[in-house]
């Protein structure tokens, strides 16, 4: 047994233990903290699987933003804990659930053990055309050149989710400001961090966005870091969310997908196919799409964490 395999086995055990604890622990708040830890461990697995792009996304989204979202939810729902706990299903349901889960796991495990060999791969195809896209990171090439339709639809899904969240606002707060429920001390350590960290975080976020063309990174990871910085400043009480009725906010939110669509459909004329780029212009067009998508993603991701509007802006 090699050392690398020993590390992998240790990591897999740790992840399974963490997932088990997250599920079994009584307190929901503790479960959320367990889930964040689990997300960070999963990031290590992505590194072990040689997928730094996915690792960055998992760390930023899976652990970070999802964690912030769930912590906010758990804090607000804390009072309902005791009442819900009495609804725990009986022995029969639990046994059936365990049998069902074990069956699913066993079926998947059999599939894993019988995966085809040699494994099918599109890596040679992706590598063959990489030069024509002008980007050096094959994952970015897939996201923005080979399968850019997926990425456009993904940006639209993020926006649709945000509209869904907004539409859950009470009628009287429609067009108002979302709010993070924090009890920040303006002289406390959080406020101190919220002043010190954002300049560093913004540089890291923009760097990860920029470097994504040729190295691991990209707009989703960069946008998540920038969104986190904005949330940090707001969470510390140093700034507030804008009212969702603001025109600039709405324009920035739709600008990214709109630019993407315009460039995509312009491909019919300039390159003969939807989402095709004219030869020699791939890199500048990809860059234009990424730059337009960036504010959309930063705003949408932060506002998704913030939730529905909860107060009207002060007149």
């Amino acid at each position: 047994m090699t050392l690398a395999l020993a590390v992998d086995i240790g990591l897999a055990m740790l992840i399974l233990a963490m997932a088990g604890w997250t599920i079994a622990v009584r307190d929901t708040f503790a479960s959320v903290i367990g889930f964040v830890t689990y997300g960070l461990l999963l990031t290590l697995v992505w590194v072990r699987l040689a997928m730094p792009d996915v690792a960055l996304t998992e760390a930023a989204m899976g652990g970070g933003l999802t964690g912030a979202l769930l912590i906010g939810g758990a804090a607000r729902l804390r009072r309902t804990e005791a009442a819900v706990r009495t609804e725990r299903p009986g022995m029969l349901t639990r046994t059936l659930a365990a049998v069902l889960s074990a069956t699913v796991t066993a079926a998947l495990a059999i599939c894993v053990l019988n995966l085809p060999d040699p494994a099918p791969t599109l890596a040679p195809d992706a590598a063959a055309k990489l030069g024509s896209t002008g980007v050096g990171n094959p994952v970015t090439a897939v996201l923005l050149a080979y399968r850019s339709m997926d990425t456009l639809l993904e940006a639209i899904v993020v926006l649709l989710a945000l509209f869904g969240v907004w539409s859950l606002a009470h009628d009287r707060f429609w067009g108002g400001c979302p709010q993070l429920r924090t009890h920040a001390d303006s002289e406390g350590i959080l406020a101190y961090f919220a002043r010190i960290l954002p300049p560093i975080g913004i540089i890291v976020g923009v760097y990860i966005f920029w470097i994504g063309a040729d190295f691991p990174g990209g707009k989703f990871q960069g946008a998540t870091i920038l969104a986190a910085m904005w949330l940090l400043v707001i969470g510390a009480g140093l700034a507030y969310f804008p009212p969702i009725s603001q025109a600039w906010l709405r324009i920035l939110l739709v600008a990214g997908p709109l630019v993407f669509m315009v460039i995509g459909f312009a491909g019919i004329v300039t390159a003969g196919a939807v989402f095709a780029y004219p030869i020699g212009f791939a890199k500048p067009l990809i860059l234009a799409i990424e730059i337009a998508l960036m504010p959309t993603l930063v705003l949408a991701l932060a506002l998704l964490v913030a939730g529905a509007p909860q107060r009207m802006p002060p007149q």
Binding site: D8, A12, I15, L16, A19, T22, I23, T28, V32, Y38, V45, R48, L49, M51, D53, V54, T57, M61, G62, L69, L70, G72, G73, L77, T80, V84, E87, P89, T93, R94, A97, S101, V104, T105, L108, A109, V112, L113, A119, T121, L122, P124, A126, A127, V139, V142, Y146, D150, T151, V157, V158, L160, A161, V165, H170, F220, L304, V305, G307, A308
Partner: protein
């Protein structure tokens, strides 16, 4: 036994864990967490398949990797929507339950809703 296969089996177990939690845990927020554990298991399984496709100097097949990034972002968006729905349910009645019988019967029907 190698690294990717080990994590593939780990993913299969995580999907089982998540499914059990989704069914058994009565608290809706815990169901959302369980659903996310299923999701991460599916991602990890897909990642295992991507890793097995390593070729021409790439650590893994880039196409599933890009889909994984897309999937993680979409999972986050769906989670945000689910949490918002839950918080709105809490705002309405002060209780959070998916149990039909325990739900308050005097639901405040707003005539303007129709």
């Amino acid at each position: 036994m190698n690294g990717p296969m080990l994590f593939g089996l780990c993913a299969a177990a995580l999907i089982g864990f998540g499914l059990y939690s989704l069914i058994v845990n009565p608290q809706p927020l815990r169901k959302i967490i369980g659903f996310n554990i299923i999701g991460s298991g599916v991602f990890l399984l897909f990642g295992t398949i991507a890793r097995r496709g390593a070729a021409v100097g790439m650590g893994g097949d880039p196409v599933p990797q890009a889909l994984l990034i897309t999937g993680i972002v979409v999972a986050f968006s769906a989670t945000a929507l689910a949490v918002s729905l839950l918080l709105r349910l809490f705002d309405e009645g002060g209780v959070v339950t998916l149990d039909n019988e325990a739900a308050p019967t005097e639901t405040t029907t707003d005539p303007s809703d129709t």
